[in-house]
């Protein structure tokens, strides 16, 4: 079966029940999306499918419709996405394990809601667990990225 990840088409020989996360990590060696729980409880595996945040551990690859973007395709080291730049500026990451999912979720949030309130940020980001408790920095960085995107 064929799938497009970060603009590149790939051919994989897998069972349609295989979760997208397994395909990305084990078949395509794209290791940005992390495995945390496998049951939609943590958000570490978040990617975009046609721009919408999706927990890739939940999606059987046979049900994938649309192009996948992982953190590897969100920005480049030379040209960071506004959310990635804000994450660096605010030094959001602690251990880092959850952060690829946090950044993908935050980017999807700003796509739907360019000026989120604190309450809206909390409502959306509560599905992404951070055991290091970086939530105050996540919130600050999202406000910062929203500001930068509105100026762009």
């Amino acid at each position: 079966m064929k799938l497009t990840v970060n603009g590149t088409e790939h051919e994989v020989d897998v069972e349609p029940e295989m979760p997208l996360l397994w395909v990305l990590r084990d078949e395509l060696n794209i290791k940005g999306p992390k495995y945390g729980c496998g049951i939609a409880q943590c958000g570490a595996c978040t990617v975009h499918v046609d721009g919408m945040a999706v927990r890739s551990c939940q999606l059987p690859v046979g049900d994938l419709e649309g192009g996948v973007t992982t953190i590897e395709g969100l920005g480049t080291p030379e040209r960071l996405h506004a959310v990635q730049a804000a994450w660096v500026a605010h030094q959001v990451a602690q251990c880092g394990y959850c952060q690829s999912g946090q950044i993908m979720q935050a980017a999807a949030l700003l796509d739907l809601n360019p000026e989120p309130s604190d309450a809206e940020i909390d409502a959306v980001m509560s599905g992404n667990l951070c055991r290091c408790g970086t939530y105050p920095r996540i919130r600050a960085a999202i406000h910062d990225a929203a500001q930068k995107l509105s100026e762009a």
Binding site: E17, D63, L112, A123, V124, G127
Partner: protein
């Protein structure tokens, strides 16, 4: 693997038995009031079952959770609010976790899924915590049931089930979840019996 095959087979059997318009509807008036009331009682048991009522919630737009290890129904974890859109568009879209798939076989505690976009039912269809009289009045009120007469309600059930939507999923929810009582076919038949009896409600 074997489990998923069994569940898929069950789903496709349900689908086949429920081809749209497959049920021959009884003549209006051919069912006694007592039989209609008995059918409503069974409908009530279905629609207030957690598999159905947990997403038929009121205007706070907060879905409910319940299950073998949860006890009493409680608000969905993770601070989830589906918004007035009822699909989560204002916050986190339901589909971020509840992906669209005809394969209902998910792990316990994973996000359940069905064949159409996961969402709350429209707010007028509020069932969670509602009484028999309230639900009966809502079900027969075209202003609050999507403009349907009793035949329309039967068609709605058959149509949703044919898409592997929540109506089909309620009886095959996967992940050790407790299915709705009896069978999908019996529920559709009860809707027809209640309708042909004139949709009698417990208070009238």
């Amino acid at each position: 693997m074997q489990k998923s095959v069994v569940i898929l087979a069950a789903v496709s059997i349900a689908g086949a038995a429920l081809a749209e318009g497959a049920l021959t509807l009884p003549e209006e008036g051919s069912i006694s009031r007592a039989d209609g009331q008995a059918a409503f009682e069974r409908i009530y048991e279905v629609v207030t079952h957690p598999r159905c009522a947990n997403c038929h919630v009121g205007e706070d737009n907060i879905p409910m959770w319940s299950g073998p290890s949860y006890g009493e129904a409680r608000p969905h974890g993770m601070h989830i609010n589906a918004g007035e859109s009822r699909i989560g568009a204002e916050f986190l879209p339901c589909q971020t976790c509840h992906v669209t798939s005809d394969d209902f076989d998910t792990a316990p505690h994973a996000a359940p899924r069905f064949g159409i976009a996961w969402q709350l039912a429209p707010v007028e269809f509020e069932w969670f915590g509602k009484s028999r009289a309230e639900i009966c009045a809502q079900l027969k009120d075209p202003e609050r049931n999507g403009g349907r007469d009793w035949r329309g309600l039967v068609e709605h059930l058959e149509h949703d089930a044919s898409l592997n939507g929540p109506v089909a999923w309620g009886w095959s929810p996967g992940g050790d979840r407790d299915p709705a009582p009896r069978t999908l076919e019996e529920h559709v038949e009860d809707m027809a019996l209640w309708g042909a009896a004139g949709q009698p409600c417990p208070t009238d």
